[in-house]
C-alpha cells in the first residue's frame, strides 16, 4: 500500500479539476427532482400537451412517498448509472492508451494502492451524488406529497450507496482488464442486463436498490435483504481483487 496518500491526492485533484465532484451530483439531483415533479403536475401536463378530448377524466393513482422515491431510484438506475459508466470507464484503460500510465508505472508504486485510490475517490463522488439525488427527491416528495420516516429512509440510502460501490468496483475492474470499448460493453452487460435476473430471485446484488425501497414500505423479507447485502459486499471485494491483479498483468498494454 505504498504511496496511497499521494495517489489519493492525485486522483482527487484530477477529479476536482475536471469538475466531476460538481456535475455528476448535479445530474443526480436533477434526476431526483424530475419524478416527484412530473407526477405531481401530471394533470396539468396532460391538459397542456396531451390533446385530451373535452370532458375526459383520468383517475391518477394516489402515490405514497415511497412510490416517488422508488421512481427516482429507477431514474438513478438508468441514467445515473449510465453517466457514472460513461465518465469512469476510461479511468484505467485510457491512461494505458494515451501513455499517462507510463509515467506512473515506471515508479515504484504498488498497484493495489493505485487501484484503491481510484476506487476511493470515485466512491466519494458516488457518495456525494447519491446524497444529492436522494436529497432532491426527498425534498420534493416532502413538499408535494408527505413525510418519510427518517430511520428507514437512511437505511434505504445506505443500501443504495452500497450498491453504487459495487457498480464502481465493476466499472474499475472492467477498465483494468480490457481496453475502453470492450470494458464499456462488459460493464454495461454486468450492471444492466444483470438487473433482469431480479425478476427471478430477490437475493442477488442487483435487487439491492429495490430492496432498499421495500425497507421503507416495511415489506422486506429480512433474510433475502441480508443475503443480497452480503453478496453485494462479496462481489465488490472480488471485483477489486480481480481488478488489481488484471491491472498488474496488463502493464504490457501500456503505450510508450
Amino acid at each position: 500500500m505504498r504511496g496511497l496518500p499521494i495517489l489519493l491526492q492525485k486522483e482527487f485533484r484530477e477529479a476536482w479539476r475536471s469538475w466531476k465532484f460538481l456535475w455528476i451530483p448535479l445530474v443526480f439531483a436533477i434526476l431526483g427532482m424530475s419524478d416527484p415533479l412530473t407526477n405531481y403536475y401530471m394533470m396539468d401536463i396532460l391538459h397542456a400537451v396531451g390533446n385530451l378530448p373535452e370532458g375526459f377524466d383520468i383517475q391518477l393513482p394516489e402515490f405514497v412517498p415511497a412510490d416517488l422515491l422508488q421512481a427516482s431510484i429507477g431514474q438513478f438506475q438508468m441514467i445515473g448509472l449510465l453517466v457514472l459508466l460513461a465518465s469512469f470507464i476510461g479511468s484505467i484503460s485510457k491512461e494505458r492508451a494515451n501513455g499517462t500510465a507510463t509515467l506512473l508505472y515506471v515508479r515504484s508504486i504498488s498497484f493495489s494502492a493505485y487501484f484503491i485510490s481510484k476506487f476511493l475517490v470515485i466512491s466519494a463522488i458516488g457518495f456525494v451524488s447519491a446524497v444529492a439525488g436522494f436529497a432532491a427527491s426527498v425534498y420534493y416528495t416532502t413538499v408535494l406529497y408527505g413525510n418519510f420516516e427518517i430511520g428507514t429512509l437512511l437505511a434505504c440510502f445506505v443500501t443504495y450507496f452500497i450498491w453504487l460501490l459495487l457498480v464502481i468496483a465493476v466499472i474499475l475492474m472492467m477498465s483494468a482488464t480490457f481496453n475502453t470499448m470492450i470494458a464499456a460493453t462488459g460493464a454495461f452487460i454486468v450492471i444492466f442486463i444483470g438487473q433482469f435476473l431480479t425478476i427471478l430471485w430477490d437475493f442477488l446484488p442487483w435487487s439491492l436498490p429495490s430492496n432498499g425501497v421495500l425497507l421503507i414500505r416495511d415489506m422486506m423479507y429480512m433474510q433475502d435483504y441480508w443475503w443480497s447485502m452480503f453478496m453485494t459486499v462479496m462481489f465488490t471485494i472480488i471485483s477489486i481483487a480481480i481488478g488489481i491483479v488484471m491491472m498488474k498483468k496488463n502493464t504490457s498494454m501500456v503505450k510508450i
Binding site: 460538481l22 456535475w23 448535479l26 439531483a29 436533477i30 415533479l37 476510461g90 494515451n98 425534498y139
Partner: protein, 67 residues
C-alpha cells in the same frame, strides 16, 4: 404580468432552475479554460446554451478531451 409571475409556485420551481443554471455556468467556464474539445468549440457553446438540460451533461461526457 406581475400577478402571473406571483402565481408560479417558486418554492417548487426555483431549485430546479438554480441547479440547471449552475450546471450550464460550470460547463461554460470549463469550456473557456480547456484547450481543445471534440468538435468545434463554438458548437459546444450553442449546445450548452440551448439544449438546456442535456447540453452540459453531453459536454462533460463527450465534449471534453483529456490531454
Amino acid at each position: 404580468m406581475m400577478e402571473e409571475l406571483a402565481k408560479i409556485p417558486w418554492a417548487v420551481i426555483a431549485p430546479l432552475i438554480v441547479v440547471q443554471l449552475v450546471l450550464m455556468i460550470v460547463a461554460l467556464i470549463d469550456l473557456r479554460r480547456i484547450h481543445t474539445t471534440n468538435g468545434p468549440k463554438i458548437l459546444w457553446v450553442l449546445i450548452i446554451l440551448f439544449a438546456n438540460l442535456l447540453g452540459p451533461i453531453l459536454y462533460f461526457i463527450i465534449g471534453r478531451k483529456q490531454s
